[in-house]
């Protein structure tokens, strides 16, 4: 058994013109669950603030995937859910990155203010030094 994705096989089979009624070998329900989890996790990281477009895209596609699943449109459900998943992962990664960037910036600023303080202490020798 080759490792190629079942969805690709299904697509190939369709393209070859073979009629397969409702070719849905992947489990769209599982795809939807994964997407739900990823959107939830991205939301928990304030992705709405750092990656509003990506998380919005993920939410919309997830909602449409859930709808498609209810309507038994399995191919559509799978595609939308898989796309919602990667959209949510992008939002998640952007939120993490923004947080890391903010951490670095805060450090940079605190170093800057420490250095300014030192400079002031050296210029005005009578000024008391403050070390935190």
């Amino acid at each position: 058994m080759t490792k190629r994705p079942v969805s690709a096989i299904a697509a190939g089979v369709l393209a070859a013109g073979t009629l397969v009624a409702c070719g849905t070998p992947t489990q769209p329900a599982a795809s939807v669950s994964k997407a739900e989890l990823a959107v939830h996790q991205a939301d928990a990281k304030d992705a709405g603030e750092h990656a509003p477009l990506d998380i919005q895209l993920a939410r919309e596609k997830l909602a449409r995937a859930q709808k498609a699943l209810q309507d038994d449109d399995h191919d559509k459900a799978r595609r939308l859910a898989d796309e919602a998943l990667v959209d949510a992962l992008v939002a998640d990664a952007k939120a993490d990155t923004e947080e890391s960037r903010a951490t670095a910036q805060a450090l940079q600023q605190s170093i800057q203010s420490l250095q300014n303080e030192t400079l002031q202490n050296e210029t005005g020798s009578s000024v008391r030094g403050v070390v935190r």
Partner: protein
């Protein structure tokens, strides 16, 4: 219903085949492929997000496979989209790693700046407290309140001692974790008992001056040693004057940043 569904399934792949033959490659696939090539050529991505880049490569391979298998255009476009987003994830994660590395470097830098500032302040303090012969020793910062700063034979401090003690008090207020030892000493003139009392009284006088300047008395331990620990000969008047003294030791706080120079008496 079934027949309609069936005819739709036939027409979609037919259209996909036609499109693939006409334009060669699915534009979404070309787009994803270009994005992947760019990321794979970026050392920042290959170094910082190899796993994510590998995921992107596999996603792209699935899209390529679908194309080779002449899957319908919608499926190829869908798989290409997944691949392109995987590339984006790799790029963003690489960026995150870069920021994290920068933070680690900045944290080290901050430690160094803090440590340097502390060093500089101690040096500055010892300069400002030159009147009290401030010096760094393995016990901490040691100061000596000399005999001339007391009224002769008494425990009362002369006004001249106050500016330096005020400066010391402000340092202690800024560093509430530091403890202070105050040790009174005398020469051997007079009875040992009287000397013990005078040495303690002078240590107390210094302690009270610091407390009056806002230093918590609980941090200060005054002790009298009398004539027991001379630093010079009691045979000469100069030696005796050196022996009449109050020593102040500012004990270093247990610091997270190790000072390589602690331990060397300068």
């Amino acid at each position: 219903m079934t027949t309609r569904h069936g005819s739709l399934l036939i027409t979609v792949p037919a259209a996909a085949l036609f499109a693939a033959c006409a334009s060669g490659m699915n534009p979404a696939y070309l787009d994803a492929n270009a994005a992947y090539r760019a990321a794979a050529a970026d050392p920042k991505v290959t170094t910082n997000a190899p796993v994510e880049l590998h995921d992107a490569e596999q996603a792209l391979a699935r899209a390529a496979k679908a194309q080779d298998d002449h899957a319908d255009a919608e499926e190829i476009t869908h798989l290409s989209y997944l691949a392109k987003r995987r590339v984006e994830i790799a790029e963003v994660r690489a960026d995150q790693k870069t920021q994290q590395a920068r933070s680690a470097q900045l944290a080290d830098e901050k430690d160094q700046v803090l440590f340097d500032a502390k060093q500089r302040e101690v040096r500055q303090l010892t300069q400002e407290l030159a009147d009290l012969k401030a010096r760094e020793t393995d016990r901490g910062i040691e100061l000596t309140v000399g005999d001339v700063l007391f009224e002769t034979g008494h425990a009362t401090l002369q006004p001249g001692a106050l500016p330096a003690l005020a400066r010391l008090a402000s340092f202690l207020r800024d560093h509430p974790d530091r403890q202070v030892l105050i040790e009174g000493h005398t020469d051997s003139t007079g009875t040992p008992d009287a000397n013990l009392k005078l040495s303690l009284a002078r240590a107390d006088a210094v302690a009270q001056t610091l407390v009056a300047q806002g230093v918590d008395g609980a941090r200060i331990s005054p002790r009298g040693f009398g004539e027991a620990t001379p630093v010079a000969s009691n045979a000469t008047s100069a030696g005796r004057q050196q022996n009449r003294r109050v020593e102040i030791v500012v004990v270093p706080s247990p610091e997270p940043v190790a000072n390589p120079r602690v331990g060397s008496v300068r």
